[in-house]
Symmetry: C3
Subunit: 214 residues, 3 copies
């Protein structure tokens, strides 16, 4: 819906670029996990792919938006391939870009959440379901990555990550009921997710596991 509003064309381009940047960083995260497991180059590329588009694929398939989004814009596949190649070629140097990548990843988390929530709203779903859909979009690529690496998904155990996606979704839905422009809502929601993510990592926020015995 929103994406076809011609007056948003310029703004949309900015968010499109952020979307691509997020995809690129998610792909690198998948490629790095694959290299840690000594996958061959084919495995590295596939893991970059599923990490970057796995969440969005699940989202699209669940709401019947097919062929799924990334299959209809060749840029995604090319960006993911580039991410995998960069990861395989420049692995030792990636450490210098850790903070940049962390920022793009947080941006991706916020943006993918918003896109998922919007698509859910477009499909006429309940706000709570929209938030769930946004969180699935943003976080399940990483879950599939960990499953394919035969590991317990990271986001289930440690760090505040996917929870921020839920918070972002709630804020987005709430702001959407105000008179703020969609641009402003996008910016505010994303900024908030990014700030919370930075705080979460810096101060090692974790969710309490009161039910786990000592």
């Amino acid at each position: 819906m929103f994406f076809h509003d011609p007056t948003l064309a310029k703004t949309f381009n900015i968010f499109q670029i952020l979307d691509y940047l997020g995809t690129f960083v998610f792909a690198i995260s998948g490629a790095l996990a694959a290299m840690d497991k000594k996958f061959d180059p084919f495995g590295v590329v596939i893991l970059a792919l599923v990490t970057a588009v796995g969440g969005g694929t699940l989202r699209d398939v669940m709401i019947g938006r097919t062929p799924v989004g990334w299959m209809q814009d060749i840029n995604y596949a090319l960006i993911i391939l580039a991410g995998a190649v960069v990861a395989m070629s420049c692995r030792p140097y990636l450490v210098y870009f850790r903070k940049t990548m962390f920022l793009f990843d947080a941006m991706g988390l916020g943006l993918f959440t918003i896109i998922g929530v919007e698509l859910g709203m477009g499909a006429g779903l309940h706000p709570i379901i929209c938030i769930l859909l946004g969180t699935l979009s943003a976080a399940f690529g990483g879950v599939i990555r960990d499953i394919l690496c035969n590991q317990i998904p990271l986001i289930f155990e440690k760090e505040i990550y996917a929870s921020l996606s839920i918070i972002g979704g709630v804020i987005f839905i709430f702001l959407n009921k105000t008179s703020l422009s969609l641009d402003a809502i996008y910016v505010i929601t994303s900024a908030l997710v990014i700030v919370l993510r930075i705080l979460a990592v810096r101060y090692r926020w974790v969710l309490p596991k009161w039910y786990v015995g000592k």
Copy 2:
């Protein structure tokens, strides 16, 4: 089809309640598995969700029924959240409800099978495919739960569980060709699955693995 028959409205409500009860118990089973693995509360809720709706999601996506069923009735999400909260808050006391939960779980197994078979029939699929679809619906939530916990799916190794879903599906298809009312068919099929499940656990029925060497 059947679900829109107005004369079935009253009966349907009863089965709707059983459906919710089954969902609740499946959610608790997912939450308990997550707590065993020391997932954080976010992980517990997500595992409750995928355990409860994973099978139905797979079923709906495979027959093109989108947005998938549970996304269109907010009650499911709320019931699952309640299940996760109950599991996290009352873990030590759940043991007293073991038998009740076992019964609801068996009921869910039977009912989810029937719903899957019916949806398959509505989509004009071959009876054997309908039975497979019913079994996927009923059993794959647990498979996804085990995969996310990085374990071999329980139902592939031990106990007669999913096999009862197949038996339930066969009986349902068979009774459907008789002149019995749909209500009666639902009740008979469910009851049979529950009884067989009780017997299977009490007498430790297992499928023979004749192909496994000593």
Copy 3:
């Protein structure tokens, strides 16, 4: 598209038979993996099923071709059941058919790739996406098999397998722009994949992992 050309009816039957043979061998491969893990007969059948149809299911769901293909032709389910039964009954003798099975598996790899590419073209997708779709179709059944067995997917680590699917897809797309008949294209592409697969195994071709430290 191609499949409805009446003049291709005869040829189509030949490829249909190869499709069934590939399905049969994929099912056996899944069943063998399940027996190695000591799954019960139910688990063996389900693993045979997901190995044989998992890739095609993912493909169909992603392009919105539902109910997914194998659910609309009961032969697939019966062939897979037969594969599982043969594997459980004749396990010690299967070793004598290793080369035959290897050939059918390579044939399946080539054919499933081509079918995936064609379906992608029919959905109007970019050639690169079509190739990815073909590779997913051919290789992801094995990935799901390994995940359900709680193992790192074989094709990510060792052997040139899925990469051949990519090569097959590229050749198919390329030949499709020539004036060759579809039959010839099918035969050439499949033959090439089979020959490359034989060479890959005989000479132990592997993709270089230059990024893995010593």
